[in-house]
Structure formats: C-alpha cells, structure tokens
C-alpha cells in the first residue's frame, strides 16, 4: 500500500530485492575516477549538514531531470555558488552568471544517480542526517549496506561475520542504533548477534535510509 509500503516488525531482509535493483542505478558513481569520487563524496558529506542547500539542490535536480529550467534566482548568492560547484562535479557546467539558464549536461546517468541520492537524503530529518554523517565518519556505511543481505528471516545476524565487524564496537553500534531508530528500524544487540527489524508502520523511511546509504557507499571507493 502507498501509506505502509514496508511491513511492520519485519526483518531488514525485506529490503533486499529492491536494493539489488538500486545497485545498478548507482553504477555511475562506482565508475567515476577516484579523484572525482572522493570530491563528490566529500561534497555530499558536507551537504548532509546543510538542510536548506539540500532542499534547493533537490529542486534544481528535479527541474533538470524533467527538462524544466531550474530557477535559482531566489537563492542567496553563496548558495548559488555552492550549488554551481556541486553541479560542476556531476558534469553539469554552468555557462554564465544566470546560473543554469544555460547549462550543458555531460553525463545523464550520473545526474540521474545524483538525483536519486539527493531526493532520498532530502527526505531525512536533520537529526537523521547528522547521524548519517557520523556513520560516514565512523566508516560503518559498508557494514550497514550488508545488513539486508545477511539478516535472517527474523532479522538476526551474527556479529562474528567479518562483514559487520565494525558494529562490534559499542560506540559505533550506539550511533547506528540511533540512526536506525530515526528511520523506524529497531536495532538490538546481544553478545554475539544483532537483530534489525522494522518498527510498527515504518512507512518509507527504512527504504529512504538505504537509498542514501547505498548512494554514499557507491561513492566510497570500496565498491567493485
């Protein structure tokens, strides 16, 4: 259903099928040269803490991806520059001061991947974004991307798995637990395992979080 698309109290593995399809959409990130990947990753991590700029960027990408002309006139000059710099990174070159009134697009696939990622990030609360940024700093994003694949039908997974070794650290686990709770995923830990299940009526939040995690992971330079 549109209102409760993800079932309540269900293993995180419920996201597996959808996320497998997402991998292909983020391939343009994986294919980027290392320096561009790093620059885009850094820029995105900065954006996680700038909610207003994120919203503006989402509007611009919406417009670009539907063939509309984006309107940046209402933005502050500093924001215009910030957006122009970001768009430059994704192959959208701005030709004059009337930002994006005349733009040239070099890579549609890359722009579409960025649109998907920014649209997801923009839906997350500022609290979630701060925690997402912390997870990126704590280098737990790769482990989080594995969870839907290795979680059992009841949501349990063994901490002995090398894929999730980073979660054995209590501090990291606490941040992840708070991140998940903010997107309606319940994460519990016992001595040897963790259990990740959706909360009651999680709506789209677990999926949106995972789109954001996958996007960032694809830019981290660790994906084959």
């Amino acid at each position: 259903g549109a209102e409760n698309p993800i079932p309540s109290h269900t293993s995180l593995s419920v996201l597996k099928e959808g996320l497998s399809q997402l991998k292909a959409q983020f391939q343009p990130f994986v294919k980027l040269p290392e320096d561009k990947q790093r620059a885009l990753y850094k820029s995105l991590c900065e954006l996680l803490l700038h909610e207003e700029t994120l919203t503006a960027l989402e509007d611009v990408l919406d417009a670009l991806c539907t063939g509309d002309k984006p309107d940046l006139k209402e933005l502050k000059p500093a924001q215009q520059q910030e957006l122009a710099d970001f768009l430059q990174l994704v192959g959208c070159s701005v030709q004059d001061e009337l930002l994006l009134q005349n733009y040239q697009l070099q890579d549609e696939e890359l722009l579409s991947a960025v649109h998907l990622l920014i649209s997801a990030i923009s839906e997350l609360s500022d609290y979630t974004l701060v925690l997402l940024r912390a997870c990126s700093d704590l280098q737990v994003v790769p482990a989080l991307c594995c969870l839907p694949y290795i979680a059992s039908a009841d949501g349990t997974l063994a901490l002995s798995s090398p894929l999730v070794a980073t979660l054995t650290d209590r501090g990291r686990f606490d941040v992840v637990q708070r991140l998940f709770a903010s997107t309606n995923i319940n994460l519990e830990r016992t001595e040897s395992s963790v259990k990740a299940v959706t909360m009651r009526e999680p709506r789209f939040f677990p999926l949106v979080l995972y789109v954001a995690l996958y996007g960032l992971h694809s830019l981290s330079g660790t994906v084959e």
Partner: protein
C-alpha cells in the same frame, strides 16, 4: 528557521494528516482562503509533493465576473507548547577515538517550541459548492496555461489555515563544527519557538526571528479536477486525484525515462500516471 519550526509543528500536531507547513514567512500573507495553489507531484514513492502559491484566487479564474465570497468558519485549533530534548547533543567513545555529536557538550539540551494559542480558519465547503455550481474555469488565462504546460502540476484551492494569535519568537542555535585533537564534530541547528509577550530576548541564540500575530503557519488544500471545457470539481475523497483532463497523452521528455527502467518500485504512482517515466 521558520520552515523548520512550522514543520515541527505539523509533525507533532497532524502527522499523516492533511496540514501542510508554511515554508516561507514571506508567503504567509498570500495564504488567503480560496487562493490558488499548485501542487507539484514528485518522482519517487517516498517524496512529499511541493506547493506553490499563486497570487490569485478561485474567483479570478472563473469565467463569469461574479466574485465568490466564502463563508469562513473560525475556531480554536490548539494551544501549542512543546518541550523536547535535543538528543543530537552528546559525545560517544569508540575504540578509535571520540565522536562528538553537536558541540561536544555532554548531556542534553532542552528545546522549547510554542506558538501559543492557535486559531483555525476554514471555508464552509457546502456553501462553497453551492456558490460555484455551474461555474466554469477560464482555461485560456495565461496563468492556467502555464500550469497546464507543466504536466506535473495540479491546481488546488486553499481550504483551511492555522494562524497564530500572539507574537512569537523563533530562535536558532547553530552549533559549529569542531575538529580538535582527534575530535570529530558535526554542526547542527536547534530551533526554538516561544511566545514572547514580554518581548524578552533569548540568550545564546545566533538568529532570532519574531513573527507577528495572524501569521499563517500551516494550511490545507483541496485539489481540483478540471475538464477540458472548464467544468471543475473538488476532490473531496482520498481516492480522488486532481489534475487537468487531457485530450491526448504525450511522451516523456525526461532524461530519466530509460535510465531507471529497473527501479519502477521507487516511482511515485503519480509519476507513472503522468508518463514522467516510460
């Protein structure tokens, strides 16, 4: 800052409901009952639609030059005084160092959010339906032509609004990024809203915004379904969708069209209906 305060208000008072937070203080005075609003449908299944206020009302786009004067019903909405902890604050020890969330201070900061006594103004719908019976919308107006050209937009009217009755202060505490001796930090913003009868200012606030009484902080709309000849109806039921009746469907011009062929599960149903993705 204003946007965050109104968003928090709607999240706490009408989560999953029909109220839409006002994002710009500048738009507040444009929000008159029966004024026209466009709703832009979104791409992805998780996205919320966006609304844009037009500077005209329903009367202005009807064919006959006979203004509609809506019957407005006014009632108490709520006295809104919230208090919540800012749990972003704090620091966490990890095996490789200390991660500081917020300004590095331990403990929690209590935030207050209060718009005071709020009133609701809404249009008497039954009367409105009688008033617009047999009236038509002039689809030749240049404004509506522009809306029709943008295929993802639906025309709505403003049906209700929530207004403040007291002067309120919105303040923002910006917590700056720290990177000192292995400490990683994240900047975050705490927004507080309080009724300011005494006119006293808060300390430690980086930005303070005072909003006057009668400021609209949230509103509700009704979508319109408009036929090719200008006849229209209000979409009063959940399953009814507004829009413009089209004589023929046109193909998508989106560069996305073929790129996301494998992720149809992500699309918003409206996006599929409108041929935004093929």
């Amino acid at each position: 800052m204003f946007a965050k305060a109104t968003r928090n208000f709607v999240r706490e008072t009408d989560s999953g409901g029909d109220l839409i937070p006002v994002s710009h203080l500048n738009a507040s005075d444009k929000l008159q009952l029966l004024s026209l609003v466009t709703k832009r449908k979104k791409f992805w299944c998780w996205q919320k639609p966006k609304y844009h206020f037009l500077a005209v009302s329903l009367s202005d786009v009807l064919t006959e030059d006979k203004p509609i004067k809506p019957v407005i019903v006014e009632s108490d909405f709520a006295k809104y005084t919230g208090k919540f902890e800012d749990v972003v604050q704090g620091s966490i020890e990890t095996s490789f160092g200390k991660i500081s969330l917020g300004a590095g201070a331990k403990g929690c900061v209590e935030s207050q959010s209060s718009f005071g006594n709020l009133r609701k103004q809404e249009v008497d719908l039954q009367q409105l339906m009688k008033d617009v019976k047999d009236r038509m919308i002039n689809l030749n107006s240049s404004l509506l032509q522009q809306v029709i050209e943008r295929k993802r937009e639906v025309l709505c009217i403003l049906r209700e609004k929530i207004i403040t009755t007291q002067r309120c202060t919105i303040s923002e505490h910006v917590q700056t990024e720290e990177k000192v001796s292995g400490l990683l930090g994240c900047s975050t913003k705490i927004v507080q809203v309080s009724v300011s009868d005494s006119g006293s200012m808060m300390k430690d606030s980086s930005v303070i915004l005072e909003i006057p009484p009668a400021t609209t902080i949230a509103y509700g709309v009704i979508e319109l379904f408009i036929k090719c000849d200008g006849q229209f109806e209000f979409c009063l039921l959940d399953e009814q969708q507004g829009g413009f009746e089209r004589e023929s469907s046109e193909g998508s011009t989106s560069p996305h069209s073929m790129l996301f062929r494998d992720t149809s599960f992500l699309y918003h149903p409206d996006a599929v209906d409108n041929g935004m993705y093929s």
